[in-house]
């Protein structure tokens, strides 16, 4: 049976179902990260002292990662724009760059985490590190999830382009929405944890 409204738009919503689905999911994600940001505020306001992020964390590394993630957002949106213009070869280049940049982000994060562990700084060490590892850890899981979907769309998932390019373009647009959301969360995590 064919799935309805994957390409055509529903008359009542003016949208295809995939688009509504991803936005509802992102709304739930806003609440998930919102709960953690509220936790951060509560912990910080209630703490007798709170370290400046830069006294414990590596700001140059995180700045580099911010640049990496923003760049990956641009390559992601360019991947979608390439498909919208029916340029499959260009799409593959941009999509590949997006997955690669996600990998660079994770490698930098790996070095950041191991440097902390090397200095005996663990989530249990203090409240600041507990919320730091929780928030960046959850964000990192989102980066991994986004990379898996984007890699699938670059590899086996791209077969759909041959039979139904419009549906495939919608899929890339929706995975892009998730990827931009991951970037957006980092845009707030970076100053909150590293710069304040």
């Amino acid at each position: 049976m064919e799935i309805p409204y994957t390409v055509s738009t529903r008359q009542d919503t003016g949208l295809n179902n995939g688009k509504i689905g991803i936005w509802l999911f992102l709304a739930s994600e806003v609440m998930l990260f919102g709960a953690l940001f509220a936790t951060y505020i509560l912990l910080r306001v209630g703490a007798p002292t709170w370290p400046h992020g830069s006294s414990i964390l590596n700001v140059p590394m995180a700045t580099f990662n911010t640049v990496v993630l923003i760049t990956s957002s641009v390559t992601m949106v360019m991947a979608w724009a390439s498909l919208a213009r029916r340029r499959f070869g260009t799409f593959r280049l941009y999509q590949g760059a997006t997955v690669l940049l996600g990998g660079v982000f994770l490698v930098v994060k790996y070095f950041e985490y191991t440097a902390k562990f090397h200095h005996e700084l663990f989530p249990k060490t203090n409240t600041f590190l507990a919320i730091y590892f929780t928030m960046t850890g959850l964000h990192m899981l989102h980066v991994m999830g986004g990379m898996v979907v984007n890699a699938w769309l670059l590899g086996p998932g791209s077969k759909l382009y041959k039979t139904n390019p419009e549906w495939f373009t919608n899929r890339v647009e929706n995975s892009g929405l998730f990827w931009h959301f991951v970037d957006l969360v980092w845009i707030f995590l970076f100053p909150v944890l590293y710069l304040l």
Binding site: L15, I20, V45, R85, H180
Partner: protein, 99 residues
Amino acid sequence: MSDHSADIDKHVRIYILVFVSLMVLTLVTVAVSYLHLPLPMAVGVALLIASIKGTLVACYFMHLISEKRLIYTVLGLTVFLFLVLLLVPVFTVADKVGS
């Protein structure tokens, strides 16, 4: 996709402009942190810059600038509930338990 090639070309130019703006704002937010402003001002500036960057990503990369009404309704409700969530810590000030 109903977008015509010329429309997409216009989009691409905007993406590049947004990209440059995001890079500049990232440098600004890091530079400001080295000024060691008083905490309330530092928080204000950092959140203002992050909000501008977030708005740019949402409006242009996520195409929220030209989205359908249903998406705006869903996100309007989400933003409201998100703000309620962030205000929860404020209630602890009014909490008289233990005093």
